[in-house]
Symmetry: C2
Subunit: 133 residues, 2 copies
Amino acid sequence: MDVPADAAPFIPQVFTISDLSAEFDVTTRTLRFYEAKGLLEPKRRGQTRLYSRRDRARLKLVLQGKRVGFSLSDIKEMLDLYDLKDGQTTQLNVSLNRFRERISDLQRQKIDIEEAIADLTRTCEIIQGMLKE
Amino acid sequence: MDVPADAAPFIPQVFTISDLSAEFDVTTRTLRFYEAKGLLEPKRRGQTRLYSRRDRARLKLVLQGKRVGFSLSDIKEMLDLYDLKDGQTTQLNVSLNRFRERISDLQRQKIDIEEAIADLTRTCEIIQGMLKE
DNA sequence: TTTTACCTTGACGTTAACGTCAAGGTAAAC
DNA sequence: GTTTACCTTGACGTTAACGTCAAGGTAAAA
């Protein structure tokens, strides 16, 4: 009841570079690289980086984005969009379109791969035919 | 009947760099690059490159190989294999295995893409849900 | 107190498949 | 003869996403 509203939380939840490195299985170099690219913005304690929960959440999003094939600059743009706290709907629509474009790309790639598989399969059959002689 | 067996053919079928460039829609830079990589070996008339039908056939194979996702060095290895005119069967088996490995890779990739599509689709649905509010 | 471990910045290296000049040679057409 | 077109080699540039030193700072443990 008497706890001041601005009392510092007792679970600050900050992370070192090696914490995140270990948790997400990326190198420290990668984390510094993401910072240089503006994807993360850890504070410093002296020289040492201190990552907040927000940084951690962002990192998670970066890695998710990479998994589905977005480039780092794509991801940065989207993260930056979400930082503009206004016009939520607009932001969501922008990202929605991004995602849909990416889905189209992926479907195109899938077709290409299927064609390549068909090509190679046919070629294999021809070679097998030759080997039967 | 009296034509000597070693008579030069009257249809030499040689090609200039721009012939091939136009026919296969690749730049001349690309053709020189492939030569530097040992994929093509055109003769020279003075300075100028003269591509034989064999070069043309090789180029065709290179482009086919690229289409199904082989690297240039993969392709070079396979082309070189076919140049060793002995042990045909062995060569064919080697390539057959290569092709099958590539097919496996592609199938793996296809699965990855399908997963990414599923991920993105799910995310889109979530966003759409948020937008309905 | 020295070792050990972890942290920092900075700068250059890597890979693939060419692109892009630069600087010049040749050759046919006008 | 000069313009136009095409050819040559050589060398450096590009892109992405980090990797790999180098050289040094700090701090806790032995």
